[in-house]
Symmetry: D2
Subunit: 284 residues, 4 copies
């Protein structure tokens, strides 16, 4: 079992950052496992992810911040430190289609996703048995017209109670309120069943069929206040032909949705994603 | 060298169509090479492509129509008959980027495209030498602001003179007038450098970069009066990452454009495309 | 719910076959839903799949053979007639890895696979709970060294008892005996975790890693007496890089295996596959 | 125009390497443009590519080695320094098929490939005109049976004369002698028309057709003494069906070959490739 720390850094680009960080880690006896960086010339931004083995590392969680604050201040860094031993807590929200949920739960059971899943919330009862099979607490919160506010209040209470770190919308067919989105910035991942920005909004497979496209797609993204306009994490497509009816698009799309969503979730859990300018950097 | 005939049929769907056509061809001793059909349930349409060897076929071009007219009338068919010996005449229009043009000319020389290319028209001089290398007559028709009408008149005159069957816009950076489009319905093929309907219009790579997509695409389509809204023939995508700048998108996109356009051209030449309801059926 | 019949035909290629079949179906008032054919010039073979709605069809299962035998004899056809109402009975064999099994069971539950699954056989107990969750009878038949014959005898007895039509090896890590393979010709579908013919045999991901390939693949195929040499049904690949370790290949491969196997199973169930010359024709 | 230096490093993995390099570059006022590294745990190897802008850099080509030798010695590095201003000299060898050659020349003309092409060598005359069109000296060196040695001597003389840095086999249908391969280690790039290790050797498309695969591929690799077994640089595939004949495979394969070869050439030119253990690391 890996016992590592991951540092994510964003700061203005200037000379000497890598040297400062590498030197700091070396001084504290870190064994670097992965390091990747990105410079955005347009925005003069430096972004970095570095992961090291904690075996011989001389700082603990408490002392790291103090030791690192000099560098962080010098280079005006915003930074986050994560430990592989601290598995993030992921809530899943889902409506009636269960393919993404079944996929995530199966991957979780097989240790593809290094997180805890303290709860599943649905506005329907269809997936309750599946949740039970995998031993995940299931909460049924119907969302009645004009009562979204009340439903979201119940959801927030549960997220608080279970100390949820991030939320995955695994085909949750409700639009979140502005309040919800603001409460969990960069912490809600959605799967949209088109290659965004094509077919924003409802019924993308029907509209893809009507337009006569030769490819269908799926897009995982962070949810922001503008519908389907948040930072894109991953996309993929599949080929269709004139023989494919809407039902075929929907079936083929399920495979896309599963894979595109699960990659986003995995990368988020592994702290591989940095967001800026409504885009993502995916460190691999 | 293949010596075949290809029949393309569109008619209301009803029982007995395949039997009638197959029987007709058998009566006239056709050796069927390929037959493919498609039913559109929604529109109650039957579409078919059948290709046969002419070796033992008992009808010639002149007598076919007379012999076939009974069936065609009974089933209210619109139909077209093409002969592999009659290579269609393709005009190419291009501005300054020469990658699609170079690709088409190279494929043509290597017999991938069974057509004649009587002329290339450009509003710039950049590709003249390339045209000359492949021995294709080159015509320079600048398109000055407010003089598009005059330029198009020159173009029409050349198309008439060379008896052009269809026109390929191989990165021709001008929007055609309504008059042009109406004159050549379903006979102008364009390549657009995005996966339509995403990024309709100008500068799609720049907009793809700004949006932070993880895939870029290209789309070949027939030109209609609504910009980038015509029937899609082929699409493909390539994967990009945060490391790719706009220039990288443009370079990667060139490979997509070449392949997506050349497939559309080949299928058009081989009479594999039927259009209805602003969509294409591609018979393979 | 579709109520259709599907006819699969293989015969020597000659003129008039399509006319004969189309005419026969028309005479008996069939409403053709799909028809697709293939000619293999090299082997002078004609292969066809035709599916029609049974609503107005004037023959039933019993009378079809008699009515059709004249044509079948004339053209020396081997043919098979299947009805959509008769769902085939599929047995699944699996060892410890459960990702393909979980995928097939989930698709079956969601009506992607129009078959019955009367039983699951495993040489381990790992997947028992999964089988129970989906309500499929589970049989544990350990395969001890030198006792494969006895184990297979038990398997055959179960296949007979449940009148199994075909068998899917969903990561069943045992090599079937010659006797097994001969007993179920063209009725055993396997998933191999490489793009065959690369990496035939054991541990393909390890060997792919050692070779330094940039793509990994998966292949579904019918099992024949020569290991991993049977007719290929479907293949797909995923891109890897030097950063991917064997474990990453195995994880990425699971997604390939799931999709490539499920397509083979679906096409087999829908009678879309004809086999000849150790190849498959997939009618779409 | 970029004016940068690229340093490629391979050494035993240990702590402090990144710090040492980053510090060294910072001390000499380098503005790092890209840095990427890879650790191979199995072989305890550290591999790195770092590229920096030369604008404010305080060392020139001559003084770099002296300044860097301390670090290099401490960490037992093998290293190479390249300057973007020094375009490598690439020889192209080709037989009769000209699609890869035409593609490379077109990309070179359009500045996708930052190299010089001092000569093209062919054992046939087919591509002479193409070479002339792009203004590249063409040398016809026939390879008669039993006279390969003499032909290669002529080739070596030309490579020496033009001070060639590396050689691209753009569908050169001759097997190089052991002598040739030893003379240019890790400096000969070949394109093989299959997804290696499938279909090593001659006529891969024919064998792919016979085997009934559903995907065809192409592989670019460095040439070693074992045929088609050298380190793989890039691979890609395209989908085929039972409708595709050998000729179709060959045509589709041409597009794969072009793209897969051109990527290998570009990455080689940009010093993105490190080789070890018969594998490549591609820094992106």
């Amino acid at each position: 079992m890996k016992n590592s720390a991951t540092l994510l850094i964003t700061c203005p680009d200037t000379k000497g950052i890598v040297a400062a960080i590498a030197d700091f880690l070396y001084q504290h006896n870190a064994n670097i496992l992965h390091a990747d960086q990105h410079q955005d010339a347009e925005n003069s931004l430096f972004l970095m992810r570095v992961e090291w083995d904690l075996k011989d590392f001389s700082l603990d969680e408490a002392s790291f911040a103090e030791a690192f604050q000099g560098i962080a201040k010098t280079y005006k860094m915003s930074w986050e430190l994560k430990f592989s031993k601290d598995k993030p807590l992921m809530a899943i929200m889902v409506s009636q289609y269960d393919h993404c949920l079944a996929d995530l739960l199966h991957r979780h059971k097989n240790n593809e996703l290094q997180c805890e899943i303290p709860l599943i919330i649905s506005n329907h009862l269809d997936v309750q048995k599946l949740a039970e099979f995998y031993g995940i607490p299931f909460f049924h919160i119907p969302v009645e017209k004009d009562k979204k506010k009340e439903a979201e209040a119940e959801q927030f209470a549960l997220f608080d109670k279970f100390q949820v770190d991030f939320i995955v919308l695994a085909r949750y067919m409700q639009i979140l309120s502005e309040d919800f989105v603001k409460r969990y910035p960069q912490r809600v991942i959605n799967i949209h069943h088109s290659f965004l920005p094509a077919f924003i909004g409802a019924r993308p497979y029907h509209r893809a069929f009507e337009r006569g496209v030769k490819l269908i797609g799926a897009t995982s993204h962070y949810v922001t206040e503008v519908l389907d306009e948040g930072p894109i994490i991953e996309q993929d497509i599949d080929r269709i032909s004139h023989r494919d009816q809407v039902e075929d698009l929907i079936q083929k799309g399920r495979d896309l949705e599963r894979i595109v969503l699960s990659k986003a979730v995995q990368w988020h859990i592994e702290n591989r994603i940095l967001i800026y300018a409504n885009k993502t950097v995916i460190f691999d």
